[in-house]
């Protein structure tokens, strides 16, 4: 390891690089891109959940002012291939579908045509003039209906609506359950939507002369999008470039190869002009992805002391009508399976998972995609406590894997190492001051007020230990980054991340500038352009950046630094090991007098050339996953339930967590608070509701309730830090808030009602009032 640089930006909340443009209105989002001769595209979408398309009459629309072309499935034949789950994904049903609906529509919002016009208004006028005839088919609106053989299969090439089944035992669940006391719970959370404040969109610019296609896209995964588009459109990869401008939030929703992306690119090819598509909010709510559309039954075998001997889990997932490519329908279940025992000493697991298709929007990975495991497990643990008359903290304490027991393999495979779950629980319990709360609770109860306290402990693979993905059954790629010395001595760091709020332009610059020994402003982080950035199939997602992108940036920077020191060593006739870089000056350690400005060395390097890989001025690093890799913690919260209305108010919310060393504390805490806000939405407000005939009822922000500043409380955060297991001791923190908030609020509400059984989120006032009645309060 090279000598530490004098200025160390890591660990301080430096000014965000992104803020200058964002705060001045100079960000550049997809809708801000305007190209010459650009057409505006608007999708015509199915208004019915399931049916045959018996007629699409475009005549009136074609004749309207400004309408240039209307693209339907017919126009796409030979231009965009039909879609399906990759053939190498084992054991899944693989229905084939066209990019635009051709003969059948399968959910409200299924795209049927793209109208191209000179203005957005004209395109919408034309959309309203298209007459679509449907012949309705019986709908599949729930998992129960998808299991019903009497209901139609959504596709002619699938026998039923069951897409995937797995059943696995870990350890000896039969033995553990035999004769043991059993506590059960079931959960059916509502479907929710990701709701980035910026909807999806893209601008495709196909150059008829060169055959090059440039696609500006709101995506978290530019290389994956490029790969997908290249295949579906038969567009040579060297003539396809995906560029991500500023992206206004994603939360997993912008990780897909959207059918709309394909149509917009194809439309630019067909029309010979650039085409812009910017989704409106109704489309985003209706036709982009939803998540958390699952049901779970869980049972625990316990002993009389509350030790959890085994779990039996049956997970059913409703993935909607079409797989959200490139993710197969079998993507999620194995991650839930791998995570479900959590940081607990649970040796045996009986696991079953089935995945179904329904007449709903596609299921897309959403912040903490596997979160159902923490929700049901943490709720079940509280139920065990009530069953045994124990304190829920005590039950967790008895089952959590202690530090001195680590490393230790989870029953499902991954190694728990450096996991401070128990320490976070103890500290959270201390901060919330359980004893005095219980007195306050009793006093309040005497006055007819219902207070409740809940806890939830979780871990998240951020990015997880090296054996995590193999346990899931997937391969996790390494992460690459490029560092390049510029001619003025500044540094460009090119990351494979595609940030959309995570502030990587700041955090990776902190890591690189600290390592390189230059001011923060001398480092620029480049991202989101497949022509420049190293390949990554993920981009930004899966809480990888803190470890993986930082590690790659660190190593790439270090390699450039080593070359700089070698050159400087030659110039100064001193061993490179005796040099350091302080504030952009290369100098013998502690001897600023003999320093040479970095800019001078860079200039010389550019003019004379440098031997070595990557021409010596740049370096590509490949970072491999280090041991450990877990973030996690404990949330505790206090709620008050209005016994007359069922309204839940969060009175206090405490987080104790460990994500390793903090690169930028304010950004870390922003991730935690933002994640919790989404979790509070899941717990209390949000429902992407379909009726019993699969009509979608939550298309506006009047129907789909995103929490406001009045629903999100002040959140107290404390960080614990385990001993580093690797040089790069930063870990992801993006998903934990969303994972832990639903169970902690469910547990607090249950506690307020004397141990109510809760199996649904969001807990609407009406639902909670029914619980109040049930509890006889």
């Amino acid at each position: 390891m090279s000598a530490p640089a004098a200025a160390r930006f890591v660990g301080t909340s430096v000014r965000r690089v992104e803020d200058d443009r964002i705060l001045s209105g100079r960000g550049r989002y997809i809708d801000d891109i305007r190209l010459p001769r650009m057409l505006h595209g608007v999708f015509l979408r199915s208004s019915i959940p399931h049916g045959r398309l018996t007629g699409v009459d475009l005549d009136a629309a074609r004749g309207l002012d400004g309408v240039v072309a209307i693209i339907t499935a017919a126009e796409l034949e030979g231009v965009a291939h039909p879609l399906s789950t990759r053939p190498d994904v084992p054991d899944v049903a693989r229905p084939v579908f066209t990019v635009l609906a051709s003969d059948r529509v399968r959910h409200v919002g299924d795209p049927i045509a793209l109208i191209l016009a000179e203005t957005r208004h004209q395109a919408e006028d034309a959309r309203d003039a298209i007459v679509v005839d449907y012949e309705p088919l019986e709908t599949v609106a729930s998992i129960e209906q998808a299991e019903d053989p009497a209901r139609p299969s959504l596709f002619d090439d699938t026998d039923s609506n069951l897409l995937y089944t797995e059943a696995t035992d870990y350890g000896d669940p039969d033995g553990a359950f035999a004769g043991a006391r059993v506590v059960r719970a079931s959960f059916a959370p509502a479907r929710v939507a990701h709701v980035p404040m910026e909807c999806r969109g893209g601008v495709a610019d196909h150059h008829p002369g060169t055959g090059e296609l440039v696609y500006y896209a709101t995506t978290q995964s530019p290389h994956a999008l490029k790969l997908g588009l290249s295949g579906v459109l038969s567009q040579p990869a060297e003539k396809l470039r995906v560029i991500t401008p500023d992206v206004g939030g994603a939360f997993g929703q912008k990780a897909m190869l959207n059918r709309e992306d394909i149509v917009v690119c194809a439309a630019s090819k067909l029309a010979g002009r650039p085409v812009k598509w910017v989704e409106d909010r109704i489309e985003n709510m209706t036709a982009a992805t939803h998540a958390r559309s699952e049901t779970v039954e869980i049972a625990a075998a316990i002993d009389d002391d509350g030790a959890i001997l085994a779990l039996d889990v049956n997970l059913k997932i409703d993935v909607g009508a079409y797989p959200a490519l490139p993710f197969p329908p079998s993507f999620l279940g194995p991650i839930v399976r791998t995570m479900v025992t959590g940081p607990y000493r649970i040796e045996h697991l009986r696991w079953a998972n089935t995945v179904f298709q329904t007449n709903k929007a596609s299921y897309g990975t959403y912040r903490g995609p596997w979160a159902i495991e923490s929700l049901v497990r943490e709720v079940l643990i509280d139920r065990i406590a009530y069953e045994l008359g124990l304190d829920p903290v005590e039950v967790r304490r008895r089952n959590l894997v202690r530090m001195d027991e680590q490393p230790r393999k989870m029953a499902t495979g991954p190694t728990l190492e450096g996991v401070m779950a128990l320490e976070t629980l103890e500290r959270a319990s201390e901060l919330i001051d359980q004893d005095s709360f219980r007195r306050e609770q009793a006093d309040a109860r005497a006055q007819g007020k219902l207070l409740g306290l809940g806890f939830a402990t979780y871990i998240e693979p951020a990015p997880g230990p090296p054996d995590f993905m193999s346990s899931v059954g997937m391969q996790l790629p390494d992460e690459r980054a490029v560092a390049r010395l510029e001619i003025d001595g500044h540094l460009t760091v090119i990351t494979a991340q595609a940030p959309h709020g995570q502030s990587h332009e700041t955090t990776l610059a902190q890591v690189a500038a600290s390592e390189f020994g230059v001011p923060l402003e001398h480092v620029r982080v480049v991202h989101g352009d497949t022509q420049q950035t190293p390949f990554s199939i993920i981009g930004t997602g899966g809480s990888r950046a803190a470890t993986m992108a930082s590690g790659a940036a660190l190593h790439a920077t270090r390699a450039v630094k080593d070359k700089v020191l070698e050159m400087a060593g030659n110039m100064l006739e001193i061993s490179p090991g005796d040099l350091e870089i302080v504030d952009a000056v290369v100098m013998p350690k502690g001897d600023a007098e003999r320093g040479i400005p970095l800019a001078q060395i860079a200039m010389a390097a550019y003019f004379m050339g440098v031997e070595g890989e990557d021409d010596g001025l740049r370096s590509t690093a490949i970072y491999h996953q280090p041991p450990g890799g877990w973030s996690g913690g404990t949330h505790a919260c206090i709620v008050e339930v209005d016994p007359q209305t069922g309204v839940v108010e969060i009175k206090r919310y405490v987080v104790v967590e460990d994500c390793g060393e903090l690169i930028h504390p304010a950004i870390v805490e922003g991730q935690i608070r933002g994640g919790i806000a989404q979790g509070i939405g899941i717990a209390l407000l949000e429902n992407a509701l379909y009726d019993e005939e699969a009509n979608f009822l939550a298309g506006t922000f009047m129907d789909y309730l995103v929490p406001t500043s009045m629903e999100i409380p002040t959140i107290e955060i404390e960080h614990l830090h385990s001993e580093p297991l690797a040089e790069v001791n930063y870990r992801g923190v993006g998903e934990g808030g969303t994972i832990a908030a639903p169970p902690v609020i469910v547990n607090a509400v249950a506690d307020a009602l004397g141990g109510a059984s809760i199996g649904v989120v969001p807990m609407t006032p009406e639902y909670v009032l029914a619980l109040v009645d049930e509890a006889g309060i």
Partner: protein, 154 residues
């Protein structure tokens, strides 16, 4: 969605039955409705306008008589309607049954309504109310058609 509405018409069941089975005559009694085409003796095309403040919806409807049982005084119409500006649509079966009620006739209408698109999303909550108002108006119009004053609606 199932809607049940009933009203009384101050006319004999026979008179009301004849009127209800004369679709070209009955359609104009429905508020906002207009008969566009008689396709055959059991099939019609009609337009139905619904105005709620600034929201004006216009449905192009295919109406088919599925059953007409004179002895039970029961008719069944099937309607498939499309909002002309793409705001969704509806299918419905409308079953009307007549019974003598004092000097008049009780008309019972059971509608099995399936909506889709924007009207389903925004209209669901208000449909029962609006339907109730429309039936009240329909009853008054029917009574007027039969040359009598309106009967009490419920």
């Amino acid at each position: 969605m199932r809607l049940e509405n009933s009203f009384n018409v101050p006319a004999s069941p026979e008179q009301v039955w004849d009127l209800l089975n004369d679709v070209p005559r009955v359609v104009p009694n429905m508020p906002g409705a207009r008969l566009d085409e008689v396709v055959d003796e059991n099939t019609w095309k009609a337009t139905m306008a619904v105005k709620l403040g600034p929201v004006a919806l216009e449905f192009a409807a295919d109406v088919r008589r599925e059953a007409s049982d004179g002895s039970a005084r029961r008719t069944m119409l099937a309607v498939k309607a499309r909002e002309v500006k793409g705001r969704g649509g509806a299918t419905a079966t409308i079953e009307s049954t007549l019974e003598p009620d004092g000097d008049g006739t009780a008309v019972m209408i059971v509608t099995d309504l399936h909506m889709h698109g924007a009207v389903a999303q925004y209209g669901r909550a208000v449909v029962p109310d609006v339907a109730g108002q429309m039936v009240t108006q329909f009853a008054a119009n029917l009574a007027a058609s039969l040359g009598e004053g309106p009967g009490p609606a419920s």
